[in-house]
């Protein structure tokens, strides 16, 4: 039934929190880190049930300041308009800002999230050599 109703769907759009352990009904950062890596590596199977959601604290003032409106980054990569200096900018768009990002990055191991790029292919310029 899943194949019929969700044709083309792979994963990531259900309403389970990464931090939630359904067996013990507890929420921990360790669960979030582990479940996120399992999801991104499809450690069980492509069709298995994986969690999808993260939650972060924020305030209305961060939204009204314009730092967080329609887009945010949960990886170490900054948004194009956040890169303002040679030494790198700050995660203004992350809920809570840079210091909160550092805390979550440490607890959830956000550094291990890939950017959706095949770095090896970019290094080898495969985007050119594969052109047909």
């Amino acid at each position: 039934m899943r194949d019929v109703a969700c044709a083309g769907y792979v994963a990531g759009c259900n309403t389970l929190f990464f931090a939630h352990d359904t067996n013990s009904d507890t929420y921990t950062a360790q669960n979030a880190s582990t479940n996120m890596m399992e999801r991104l590596s499809f450690s069980d199977d492509v069709g298995a049930k994986y969690a999808s959601m993260l939650a972060f604290p924020s305030t209305a003032q961060q939204f009204s300041s314009g730092h967080l409106d329609t887009v945010m980054s949960v990886t170490t990569r900054l948004l194009p308009w956040e890169v303002t200096s040679a030494t790198g900018g700050s995660h203004h768009s992350f809920p809570g800002g840079q210091e909160v990002f550092n805390a979550y990055s440490q607890a959830l191991n956000l550094r291990s999230i890939h950017f959706g790029e095949d770095m090896k292919a970019a290094e080898n310029q495969d985007f050119i050599s594969q052109a047909r």
Partner: protein, 190 residues
């Protein structure tokens, strides 16, 4: 057609009601229940699922041993302007008490919170960063000479690979018969 897995992300924002749903009437306190919850679409089961404020607070993983360390937020609220994550958690639990109309551990209220007790500027961002679908790509082009033209005639096309810079170079030479210009272009354009 090019077919490959593509990821997108999205986020939702939970907030407490911006006006008192009870109208300050203690007898109407039950109207406060579930006012901080949200419904999120579950694509796997094709239905909307209620996400409560309390679940979202728990999923923030604050105030736990080995969890997210205390840090200073970039923006405080208008009511207290306190930037501390620990304070944020306490205020979030107070909102949970208001939302569930029950006493909640971690709240700064020993009884059920009222609207006057909560900070309405708190927000919780729920992110779904790894939504993955099988995506198809197509190239669509405008018809007509603006896009390009197919030329008929003796043609010579040569391709060679430049292994040093990893590029493919091509050279094309075509002789074609085009229609004579029938509208008044300047002579230099002909």
């Amino acid at each position: 057609m090019l077919t490959r897995n593509s990821q997108i992300g999205e986020f939702y924002v939970l907030q407490p009601p911006q006006v008192d749903p009870t109208g300050g009437d203690a007898a109407a306190a039950s109207k406060a229940k579930f006012t901080c919850d949200t419904l999120i679409y579950d694509e796997e089961s094709d239905r909307h699922v209620r996400i409560t404020w309390g679940q979202a607070v728990d999923a923030c993983c604050l105030g736990q041993a080995g969890g997210v360390a205390n840090a200073r937020m970039s923006h405080g609220t208008k009511k207290t302007n306190d930037l501390d994550l620990t304070t944020w958690l306490t205020k979030a639990r107070t909102i949970q008490s208001f939302n569930e109309q029950a006493v909640v551990v971690g709240s700064d209220k020993a009884t059920t919170a009222t609207y006057a007790d909560i900070d309405p500027d708190l927000r919780i961002v729920i992110a779904r960063p790894f939504i993955e679908h099988l995506m198809h790509s197509v190239i669509m082009a405008v018809s007509g000479r603006d896009t390009g033209a197919t030329l008929f005639g003796p043609a010579d096309m040569q391709l060679s690979a430049n292994t040093q810079v990893k590029t493919i170079e091509g050279a094309c030479c075509a002789r074609a018969h085009t229609q004579p210009c029938t509208h008044g272009l300047p002579a230099t354009s002909r």
